[in-house]
Symmetry: C2
Subunit: 398 residues, 2 copies
């Protein structure tokens, strides 16, 4: 009998994809949409490195630039990543503890596939990035949520976290710097989480996609404090800025990395060589630090522009000043928004501004929206926020 598998029935299009589809329809109708919904950066990799790769592309004769690579990625890139982690975070990661993957998404999927047995409990923060829950549930994990409060700056309370841990807790997922709140976990909290993970023996899946995009303070590499308990998931999508090239990396203790490598090998055989070449050249070039600082300064200034516009046009919106990543999480409940999914649709259809509703990140902040402050130019960013204010004035729920 033909037919489809039961376990994959629960898969739904990602929220960003849903908005993309609606956006695309409106765009075809000739509408100019201000896109504050995407997780895509707006600065591509530096021209110097692109020129080097273009030269190789034209001049290479054999299969060097076109052939399969080892499943865990080429040695040069794993070494370059190890050096980069040491230089930026002072963290020691052996290249053999690093597996290069086809984007952070494959890192997430292969990691969860490699550790979860049905019935395992996994703690997710609330709010948190929406990508983890469907994969965890697909593999049979029981998701428990630790509710964070916007009034405490989304700070993680270690006692409350500890209360959620049982003998069935397999993992805790952190996204740091955070998507959607822009929050950055401070060093003491990271250390306390690491201590708890060692003491109660659970994995910390630490999603550090935005590790270099920090505008105030600094990113804590939690692996340093619990190298046997942390699996760190990373991407090159945001820095150097090539989400469509599908390249990321995962690091952690040797045994789990061996399993993740085999899982990724079954899923995609190996990561793309062309992206591996570009990133190896990038990380080892003199442009690396310059380009990173350029991105940080540019995105920080757009964040400041966004915060100013929010104060002006959305004075009653509650938010925590984003110290990292690319997002602001705006609680609009004081404007009477309870169902932000409905508001987002209203906003897109009537004001041509795309945002992501809070319900995709949170069971609590259903009257919030996530906006990106990096996807559009300053002018359009401000105009988008102005229109959100205008929309709120005219929006009636229920």
């Amino acid at each position: 009998m033909r037919g489809l598998s039961t376990a994959t029935q629960a898969f739904r299009e990602s929220p960003t994809r849903k908005i993309d589809a609606l956006r695309e329809r409106l765009r075809r109708e000739g509408r100019d949409i201000i896109v504050l919904s995407t997780g895509q950066p707006s600065i591509p990799p530096p021209p110097e490195v692109r020129a080097l790769l273009a030269k190789e592309l034209v001049e290479s004769r054999g299969m060097e630039l076109f052939g399969y690579t080892p499943s865990q990625g080429i040695a040069e890139l794993r070494e370059a990543v190890s050096e980069d982690l040491k230089r930026l975070g002072g963290v020691d990661v052996d290249p053999d503890n690093i597996v290069i993957v086809n984007g952070g998404q494959e890192g997430m999927f292969a990691t969860i596939m490699s550790i979860i047995n049905p019935g395992d409990e996994v703690i997710l923060l609330d709010p948190t990035y929406f990508g983890y829950k469907p994969i965890l549930e697909y593999f049979g994990a029981v998701v428990k949520r630790l509710r964070l409060s916007i009034d405490d700056g989304f700070k993680i309370d270690i006692d409350k976290l500890s209360e959620l841990v049982t003998h069935r807790t397999k993992a805790l997922v952190l996204v740091d710097p955070d998507n959607p709140t822009g929050n950055v976990i401070d060093r003491d909290t990271a250390r306390a989480i690491a201590d708890l993970a060692r003491e109660r023996d659970f994995w910390v899946i630490s999603d550090e996609a935005y590790r270099t995009l920090v505008y105030e303070g600094e990113h804590t590499y939690i692996y340093k404090y619990a190298p046997e308990h942390v699996i760190s998931i990373n991407t090159f999508s945001k820095d150097p800025g090539m989400p469509g090239w599908r390249l990321g990396f995962v690091y952690g203790p040797r045994d789990v990395m061996g399993r993740i490598k085999l899982a990724a090998e079954e899923m995609t055989y190996c990561p793309p060589i062309i992206a591996q070449r570009l990133v190896t050249m990038y990380l080892r070039s003199e442009v690396r630090i310059k380009h990173m600082n350029y991105i940080i300064n540019e995105y920080r200034s757009r964040r400041d522009v966004a915060m100013e516009a929010v104060s002006k046009y959305l004075p009653r919106a509650k938010f925590v000043r984003p110290r990292g990543s690319m997002f602001m999480f705006l609680d609009l409940s004081s404007y009477g928004v309870k169902d932000a999914e409905r508001f987002s649709q209203y906003l897109l259809e009537n004001y041509s501004v795309a945002v992501i509703p809070g319900s995709y990140f949170s069971e609590v902040y259903t009257g919030a929206i996530r906006i990106s402050f990096v996807a559009e130019s300053r002018d359009r960013l401000v105009e988008g926020i102005r229109r959100i204010g205008e929309a709120l004035n005219n929006y009636k729920e229920g």
Copy 2:
């Protein structure tokens, strides 16, 4: 409690990877290895198309060449694939029935994930490509094998196939043109399989990675005969020759393709844009047919060289003249080889020639080896086969 998942425990390194590792060790010891083990082609994509892409890489300003694409791939590529299938095979596939994936491997994984429930029966030929079994077993399928005989030219007997089909049969996997035998399924057989699939209502997973690499006769696009029952898995790794760029495509009926799209979205979010751009330009350029014919002629002539060398140096080896793909499957049992895994290791260590033992493809042909006739130059190919003959003269089993 930390720890790894039970279901992924069975994953082992792919056989090609195992040989790669041993080969790499010997190479580091300064040994020059003749590599007849790999599934990698030796002709890269045409220079004209590479030059176009290099230009875009240098000149693009925004994120067009670096951003995310739709999960199912860019519309232009899906249209180009649809046109290519029509032109080469006379088969009508709507672009909306095509999903672009991160290589054929992702196509295999996402397809199996999308259709298999634990306990479903799946029929694999024997011999067949080793990539399917571990994924099928991971998803809980019960694998049944249809034994083919080298004496019948590995022809599929429809009555025997029919006897294996039960009410639990979810799918039959075909690899056509075949890896490892180089066999090409004739039109009547394809049609009879399609009839059986419709009648008994099971999926045909048709792996057509080598669809354009046919040296005699022609490839049958089985989808034509059972469009509601065939899921076709394809890759751009072999033609235009970019396995390391990770790009392939799957087509089939709309409902299963929707599910495969969602599965691939969870696994890797989207296929790589840079590879999608290159292949779109390739398929739509005037070089497409020229390049394909160049590959075919070149590989056909190497096949002829290989067959001649086999007749000369391995006169007692049994094989079926490969009419497609990149491989010969040599039964060495008349030389006393029963455990080809042992022989392959002996061959590599003492004669510096890498091949893949038949036991990875077959439960029956454990005294056979697979050699690629495209991976090395003509001279080295002949020398490799000569050394296999020499090794056989000195090899003693047991």
